[in-house]
């Protein structure tokens, strides 16, 4: 436990401990407000709609907020020094080498995906997906007040993406990933020489199609299997939901472009979760973790 205390009290990690508490608090706080609004005819925000003057009623809040922020920052800056390690040395690689904390969720994804997906495609899709939110969400309800029952799908999806796939992975990457990016429990010593069995197999190998032929060239059948699996995942799940959904009023309201964008983004998120699960869960049941779903001469997924 003493190692864990050392890690969480490192100056650069203190904000992440703070972030954890803030996120938990605000999730609870917003959910409480949402449930209260859901239980009454008119949301609380609508009851406070009389106009008041900005001077002094808003300016004083801003002034107080400024004082509080300055007080916190001043105490923080006096008590804790920003880290300054040894001078930069390109020939001396520290272990573990970690990106700044806000990218550690993405660095964690490198365990499950090749860099072109984890480091380039997924961040791009996240940014584009976030920008698309206002244009694909056609639900007119829940505009300008806390609610849960009016927008269950939107809020649960955002909770999952933000709280689990972003914040929880940052926490995991910062506090539980040690040398070699190996997993360490809080009370474990970060042993640089920890030996981890690398027994990952590809998905095709699970059903008896070897990825490599005896002469070490790529097995075309494994490539075809992977192609079928990945396109099947999106095609079958997407098609199944489309068939179920196309008759609804909501589909008419959304139209095909909004629907398929939402569908692709949601299934993409599901694909990330599936890939992570098939790496993490099999060892628990004594099976081999899955490395790639689809191997090609140019890229692997």
């Amino acid at each position: 436990m003493k190692y864990f205390l050392e890690i969480i009290t490192k100056p650069d990690n203190i904000p992440i401990v703070g972030l954890l508490f803030l996120v938990v608090f605000y999730t609870w706080f917003a959910f409480k407000k949402a449930r209260k609004n859901d239980s009454q005819e008119i949301p609380d925000e609508a009851k406070l709609d009389d106009k008041i003057q900005v001077w002094p009623y808003l300016v004083r809040v801003e002034f107080l907020g400024t004082l509080i922020v300055f007080a916190i920052l001043a105490v923080w800056s006096i008590t804790i020094d920003a880290p300054l390690e040894q001078a930069a040395d390109p020939s001396l690689t520290p272990n573990p080498s970690k990106a700044p904390w806000y990218f550690l969720g993405l660095q964690e994804l490198l365990v499950y995906f090749d860099p072109w997906i984890a480091g380039v495609m997924l961040p791009s899709i996240i940014i584009i997906g976030l920008m698309a939110i206002p244009y694909i969400d056609v639900n007119p309800k829940g505009n300008g007040y806390y609610t849960f029952k009016d927008r269950k799908f939107a809020i649960l999806t955002y909770y999952f993406g933000f709280l689990i796939l972003w914040i929880a992975l940052i926490i995991l990457g910062t506090f539980l990933r040690g040398p070699g990016w190996n997993f360490f429990l809080p009370w474990e010593f970060w042993d640089t020489h920890k030996v981890v069995v690398l027994n990952n197999i590809d998905l095709s190998e699970l059903i008896g199609i070897p990825t490599k032929l005896p002469d070490n060239s790529l097995n075309i059948w494994a490539t075809l299997f992977g192609f079928t699996f990945v396109t099947g995942f999106f095609g079958i799940l997407g098609g199944w939901h489309y068939n179920k959904f196309k008759k609804t009023e909501l589909f008419k309201l959304m139209g095909p472009i909004r629907y398929w964008t939402t569908s692709a983004l949601f299934l993409g998120m599901g694909f990330v979760v599936l890939k992570m699960s098939l790496r993490l869960l099999p060892p628990i049941f004594g099976a081999y973790p899955i490395k790639y779903f689809w191997v090609t001469p140019w890229f692997n997924i």
Binding site: P15, P43, E45, V54, A82, L84, S97, V120, G142, Y145
Partner: protein, 259 residues
């Protein structure tokens, strides 16, 4: 006897600076906002729920405040810092050990930067949970996502500047991703097929070399101190202006009887 303060308030100098009186009237309260270049960002009157900290969490405003603090402390730090591999680390040591209030200013810059990343994420969380990105505020959400990306980039470029082991390796890990960019990275899908090498791909452009070195330091310095803050400031102007143009802070449509 006339009090000196009253006399000052009636002087020509006072009247030339402040264009209205300070008596507590509705008119003066309104003028206090519209006659002030900084405060006229605000409307004169707002719905009461907009001042409720439980509704807004104040995270957008705190983010802007932190940006201002970062600008101020950042400019002070620039007086003591030379962005070359020869001097950068020496200047950091000098700043932390010999400059009066040097550690305080640097600490405040770093902790405010961490805090800003957190407040941006929380602001976004609140805006999502209150559905404030819904019409007519769709485009302002898009601007907000760009500002989130700019905040990450500002923080990331600043991370390199101390030029210690922490910064050089964090940036090495981060920029290594660019190798794998499809088409324009030398280790990305179809990159080699398109003629990408370690010395001509997108990562080379970012780093100014094949590894994080002195040219990277200068690139990140200019990006961190001039280019990115300027772009962020422009998007912030649009973000704030759009809040006003899109009807002020979000709130429930009170013309409706049921929700």
């Amino acid at each position: 006897m006339i009090s000196p303060m009253k006399k000052f308030r009636e002087s020509e100098i006072y009247k030339s600076i402040f264009r209205h009186k300070y008596d507590d009237t509705q008119r003066n309260r309104a003028l206090q906002i519209v006659d002030n270049v900084f405060l006229h960002l605000h409307p004169v009157r707002i719905p009461r729920h907009a001042t409720n900290i439980g509704f807004t969490w104040g995270m957008g405003g705190i983010t802007f405040l932190l940006f201002l603090i970062l600008t101020l402390t950042g400019v002070i730090l620039m007086f003591y810092y030379r962005p070359t591999a020869q001097y950068a680390y020496e200047d950091m040591k000098y700043l932390m050990n010999d400059v009066a209030f040097g550690p305080f200013v640097r600490n405040m810059h770093r902790w405010a930067a961490h805090a800003m990343v957190i407040t941006v994420m929380l602001h976004m969380f609140r805006v999502f949970l209150t559905g404030s990105y819904k019409p007519p505020r769709e485009f302002n959400w898009v601007i907000g996502v760009l500002l989130l990306v700019l905040t990450f980039l500002l923080s990331f470029t600043g991370y390199l500047l101390p030029w210690d082991q922490l910064s050089i390796w964090a940036v090495t890990v981060g920029t290594n991703m660019a190798r794998a960019t499809p088409l324009i990275g030398h280790e990305g899908p179809f990159g080699p097929e398109l003629g990408m090498r370690i010395d001509n791909d997108i990562r080379f452009l970012l780093l100014g070399g094949t590894q994080v070195g002195p040219p990277t330091l200068l690139r990140f310095y200019v990006g961190h101190c001039i280019f990115l803050p300027l772009i962020a400031a422009i998007f912030m102007v649009v973000h704030f202006w759009r809040i006003r143009k899109d009807g002020g802070i979000s709130g429930p449509d009170t013309t409706k009887k049921t929700f």
